[in-house]
């Protein structure tokens, strides 16, 4: 079924924290200067030969002023994200405009605050095996999958609908699709969408067990790529219907596509059928042709399988004309926060007339057929397609553009 074109949804404000820095300007500067946020893994006592995209300073403060119960690495990163780019001011204005009950909170994360539970299991009572009460009483506010949504809704003082979408890596791309539907059907007048995922032993040792971690900074699309680098990030956008806020030149979500592979839990469909479906749906919903897209921000994790299959799918839809690159060499793979991170990098491209290359890609794998960009470019960009694919064969493509 070919979806009807959607009413564009305006990104009235947005903010991003990655290993490259705090705020949209810091991230965009790192992109322009080809400065990677990846460093040798020094997370807790994880003895893994890999690189990580770690956000500095998360150990140096705690949540306070009534937010103590939410305190954990994931929500600290979530809090830090909300402090950048004047985002809190924009939220306050939206509250004035619409009322607190008319603003939805739709968040994405894959592992929430599982690090707290990892710690709690190490600190079990040596005799009874019981978890400490100081952990069990705060599980709801730290590790439970809704914790991030609860935290953001409480901290921003909002009273509209809220949920956390957790579909592994596609989580915070899918928040845009859900928000677009909520706005269109009138469940809310504005939505705070976002995603936060933070480093933990679960994902470090989990991806290590799958032999998907590179021992070097990840090299997307490189002929010698050998795996991904994990990262952490927090990003948010304030979404409003473009019918309500008509602003020429504003950045907007023009289309979204959601699909599944129905193939394997941790391996993409060999022909990329789900990815193709998601990209075509996003284009149709935006009322655009492949040639209308100026740049594709790839999922581009730098695993052998992902980059090969994604290339096949991109080539099937776009041929070899449209420039495509992966920005994972800067940020690492922020898992449940990858969707919002790359949607906002796409917004940077649109506002600054900038196209990132593929950092750390020395020689493009000759088996890849699509047009992989290695070097940064400066040129006008009107429309970007961003791909995110995750475990469970869960795919999401977004089209962002300038109104």
């Amino acid at each position: 079924m070919s979806p009807e074109p959607m009413t564009p949804v305006t990104l009235s404000a947005y903010t991003l924290v990655t290993a490259n820095g705090r705020g949209v300007n810091a991230v965009s500067q790192a992109l322009r200067e080809c400065r990677s946020g990846l460093t040798p893994c020094n997370f807790e006592d994880a003895l893994l030969k890999t690189y990580i995209g770690r956000v500095d300073g998360l150990e140096e403060f705690a949540l306070e002023d009534g937010l103590e119960r939410f305190d954990c690495r994931n929500n600290r990163l979530g809090w830090l994200g909300l402090q950048q780019d004047g985002f809190m001011v924009s939220v306050a204005e939206a509250k004035q405009r619409y009322g607190t009950d008319r603003i939805a909170v739709i968040m994405g994360t894959s592992t929430s605050g599982i690090l707290e539970t990892e710690h709690a299991y190490r600190n079990r009572d040596p005799h009874t095996g019981a978890l400490q009460g100081s952990f069990t009483s705060r599980y709801r506010y730290t590790h439970n999958m809704f914790s991030l949504g609860h935290f953001v809704r409480s901290y921003l003082g909002l009273r509209g609908p809220a949920l956390v979408i957790s579909t592994a890596c596609s989580s915070s791309a899918k928040v845009f699709a859900t928000a677009a539907r909520y706005l269109q059907v009138g469940l809310c007048d504005a939505a705070i969408v976002g995603g936060v995922d933070s480093l933990c032993l679960t994902t470090l040792y989990g991806f290590s067990s799958l032999q998907l971690l590179s021992s070097q900074p990840c090299r997307p699309c490189d002929e010698d790529r050998d795996g991904l680098s994990l990262g952490e990030a927090a990003g948010y956008a304030l979404l409003e219907s473009s019918q309500k806020v008509r602003r020429k030149g504003a950045i907007a979500l023009l289309g979204y596509g959601e699909s599944t592979d129905g193939y394997h839990m941790s391996h993409p469909h060999p022909e990329g059928v789900g990815a193709i479906r998601a990209m075509r749906q996003a284009l149709n919903r935006a009322g655009l042709q492949p040639a209308d897209i100026d740049y594709i921000n790839l999922h581009g994790t730098a695993t052998r399988a992902n980059d090969t299959v994604e290339d096949k799918a991109v080539h099937e839809v776009f041929g070899s004309q449209t420039a495509a690159s992966s920005t994972k060499g800067w940020t690492g793979h922020a898992l449940g926060a990858a969707g919002i991170t790359e949607a906002l990098i796409s917004a940077i491209c649109l506002t600054q007339g900038f196209v990132p290359g593929t950092l750390n890609c020395q020689r493009v794998d000759s088996a890849l057929c699509s047009h992989i960009l290695r070097e940064n470019q400066s040129r006008p960009v009107r429309r970007v397609l961003s791909n995110i694919f995750g475990f469970g064969g869960n795919n999401c493509s977004l089209v962002l553009g300038v109104l």
Binding site: D101, T117, H150, R159, T202, S209, L210, T260, G262, M265
Partner: protein, 263 residues
């Protein structure tokens, strides 16, 4: 939003399947809190079923039951899976392993830890390539999931399989989330209400619109209050009855999900 409900799945102690559950909830037979039923995830290929988690088996059992009633091809149906904590048993095993010095975890255990594990296995078992969303809203995961499913069906014009499941966590994690009884339920929603199907309007309202609907039977009310997926019991009771009834579910304290159900 107005949707048709063309399939129902149900599994809990004393509510094994919609045929029996419908009679119990419709007041035709008494509710006895029996021993835990054993889910049949016959849809999964044998090798996947052997490795599957108990959460996956419960979720797929009710999904399969609801889908069979709908007579729809599962490949044409998008999915929304709601669960407060997802794979709590897997998370327990992971955190145990990570607390040892060796920290050895299996690739299977790791990929089964994601919140969309059940959704992913459903897609694999049915070869479905439609949109699939897995979500949480703590105690109100079921209401948030039903809202998401109804919105998707209405806006995308595509039928939706909605599955809600929550199982007790193993010790010691159960202390962090004390859910006592397992509960799984599924609804297949379409955007085309018609004669001969159960129909419902679904709307978001503020908390002052009315009280949350409870179960009159004290044992069923205990089940509703215990398990986040059991919060759907009043809706299921409305579907088991005849005529029109109103159901009100809590959503984050200050909101309600209000359904007018025509069974």
């Amino acid at each position: 939003m107005r949707v048709a409900i063309v399939g129902v799945g149900l599994l809990s102690a004393g509510l094994e399947g919609w045929v029996k559950g419908r009679e119990v909830l419709g007041g035709m037979r008494p509710f006895y809190f029996d021993s835990l039923p054993d889910p049949d995830a016959g849809l999964l290929p044998a090798n996947e079923r052997r490795r599957s988690t108990v959460g996956v088996r419960w979720a797929l059992h009710v999904a399969q039951e609801a889908m069979a009633q709908s007579r729809l091809d599962p490949r044409d149906v998008a999915t929304v899976f709601a669960s407060s904590g997802g794979e709590m048993g897997v998370l327990d095993q992971l955190c145990r392993a990570l607390a040892t010095t060796e920290r050895i975890i299996s690739p299977t255990l790791f990929h089964q830890s994601v919140h969309n594990t059940a959704a992913g296995y459903w897609g694999i078992a049915t070869s479905c390539q439609q949109s699939s969303t897995a979500l949480s809203c703590y105690d109100d995961s079921c209401a948030a999931g039903l809202l998401e499913a109804a919105t998707y069906a209405t806006m995308e014009g595509c039928p939706v399989l909605f599955v809600s499941y929550d199982l007790p966590a193993p010790d010691p994690l159960i202390r962090a989330r004390p859910i006592q009884s397992a509960f799984a339920t599924a609804l297949v929603l379409t955007a085309s209400p018609a004669a001969g199907t159960a129909n419902a309007t679904v709307a978001l309202a503020s908390a002052d619109c009315g009280d949350v609907t409870e179960m009159s039977d004290s044992e069923l009310e205990r089940l509703r209050a215990d398990n986040p997926s059991g919060r759907l019991l009043p809706m299921l009771r409305a579907l088991a009855g005849t005529g029109t009834s109103s159901v009100c579910m809590n959503l984050l304290g200050d909101q309600r999900l209000v359904m007018e159900v025509e069974a």
